[in-house]
């Protein structure tokens, strides 16, 4: 029996990745309580994981800190002293997901710009030697999940992200900028996902 089980395991590992949607759905929580990761907490986490100084990670109009000044209340903060908002918004405002997207896009664009400026110390964007291949895409997916969600992707997630990157590549040229843009957009999708916004 042990030999049969071992053969089955080796066969499973050797087979192509499972189709993206063939995995079992995660069990639903009987008590689905989650919290919004407010702007300050979100940016602190990303500043640490993407190795960008907190005070530089997101500046609206290159001047106003996204979480502290520009979108403080919209992103779930409070401001008791200046405008007497003592509690975070009960519910996300209409502007909240838009501002969240904006912040995620700024963070990702900023990280990739730094990577392009100093490839030796790059965190997310590593230019492919030739045309981006499956290994490049998988490696990028692994880096993104590791840096943004602090975990590894499962096979389905890696495959879906690779498919998205392939789709982007088909819509752009093979320049370094196109690869950088793919990195920004994949980073954005993950950094603005529900898993990144809530905990």
């Amino acid at each position: 029996m042990r030999i049969l089980a071992l053969i089955a395991l080796i066969a499973a590992l050797a087979s192509p990745a499972l189709p993206a949607r063939a995995q079992e759905a995660a069990p639903a929580s009987p008590d689905p309580r989650i919290k919004f990761k407010d702007g300050e907490r979100y940016l602190r986490d990303l500043a640490e994981s993407l190795e960008i100084p907190r005070e530089e990670i997101c500046l609206e109009l290159s001047r106003y800190d996204c979480a502290d000044k520009a979108f403080r209340i919209v992103l779930g903060g409070v401001d008791p002293y200046d405008i007497r908002i003592m509690q975070p918004l009960d519910q996300a405002s209409l502007a909240s997901p838009i501002a969240f997207d904006r912040v995620a896009l700024q963070v990702c664009s900023g990280r990739v710009a730094r990577d392009r400026a100093d490839p030796a110390a790059s965190i997310l964007f590593k230019r492919a030697a030739g045309r981006p291949d499956a290994a490049w895409r998988d490696a990028l997916a692994d880096r993104l999940y590791d840096r943004i969600l602090r975990r590894s992707p499962d096979a389905g997630e890696r495959q879906r992200m690779a498919g998205f990157l392939e789709g982007l590549e088909a819509r752009s040229d093979r320049s370094a900028k196109a690869q950088a843009d793919q990195t920004i957009l994949a980073c954005f999708a993950l950094a603005s996902s529900a898993e990144a916004a809530f905990y």
Binding site: I73, E157, R160, I184
Partner: protein, 506 residues
Amino acid sequence: MTHRASTPNASRRSVLAGMAAGLAAPGAALAATRRRGDGPEPRFLIVLGGSGGCSIIDSFMAVRESESPNGKILNAWPDSLVQSPGGGPFRAIDFSSKTIGAIPAPFTANQSDFVKRHGQDMMVVTYTGTSVNHGVAEHRSVTGNAAWRGRTLQEATALTYGAGRPIANVHLINGTAFTDRGTDDSLPSSAYGERVPAPNLWPLSLDGYRGVKGAPDRKLFDAARDFRDGMLDPESDFVQTFAASDRLKRWFELRGAPLRDIEGADLITQLMVHPDSEDMPLKAHGLKSSPLAKKVREAFPAYGFDPIESQAALAFLLIRCGVASTVTLGPENSAVFNKGAALGRGGLSAGDMRNTPIAFDFSHQAHREVQSLMWSRVLSVADRLITLLKSEELAGGKSYWDHSLLYVATEFGRSRNRPEGAMTFGSGHDLNNGALIVSPLANGGRVLGGVDPETLMTYGFDPLSGRPEPGRNMTEAEVFSGIIQALGIETPGANLPDMRVMRRKA
């Protein structure tokens, strides 16, 4: 001069597209839609919340000392300071002082100019509230003490007139209960207020892409959003685990049509009051000001540092650009000074204190000075906002103002007694007061109710004829109902009292 709106089409998509192009008057398109029977004629509610008690007997129902047998020990004003502009029913106090209580802050306040300019649209309504607690009274001033299942005036307006507007109910003032959500949970989420914490920067939160340096092409960005919304999120263990969370459901709902409507209307441009400058480097980020920004800045030149001016500037654009059907603004609870104002060498210069600490409630320290300064401030903002709305045509020769109602909501009145003959004294809270409503939709040019000269307490009126009725006190619910009815809001099953005398049309 009235500027004519130019867009004849009417679909929601074309309205939003027109707004994005910066060419259209979306309100005109909406008005056209409604004239064709698709909805009611547009109406706009402006709530100007005066925290701390805007006292009606220190403004439009002021009593002269000579008119009251107790004038020296009650808050009757010296005869020379009480104006009757234009010979109409409204009184006004024009008052200057070198100090505000112990604060050396000279100022000149004026109420009569507002009466002269807007008396035909002014309606003063007496009432007696039910709480002298700030927050409770503020909220009751907009719910009529839960007159209609607890919904606020703003929510009722957004519900009736907000269709097709991306952000129907906008709350520009913070830290007050004028903008607390009502207790009627049956309304669609679009009727509840959207909070604007910082009017000058808020437009930036209305586009997830524009102005972000180094961002990839917009179409690719949209593709990334589609990937996230259609595949990454739905397939994630996190979302599958917490799919039933109300927070998550609302998040996903907002990322759909509301997001597309807001970004599609290019509100990051339409609502941008600031010009390109060192403080707001718009051009360097591919952004620009609203086409109406210059006009708005001229009306509210202190928009950059005075919170109520930045609120009023944005309030106008929200109405004019077809974004909102109701806006709520008001003076700050903190002191506001002119730029560069400094204490020393004898105190502040004339007019340097624009807003007293805790707004009207600083009447505890210096009743008459605070009431005069703060009324003057509120009326000045109202006047400029009305003037802007009058200058823009909505449709059919009617201006935006012709479709608007401005309600100066407040919490309560102030106590009437004073040390004999004193000009400077403090006051407490009192349930008895009155409210100012300004609108072509209201039964303007009238004071409804009166003041008892012996006590300086206001009394009520007959809701149908308007005949004064000494001994009767009007309720918060009656004021609420009158406003709702003047706005033409249908109220099936609400059992609100008929306040015929408060509306211009039957």
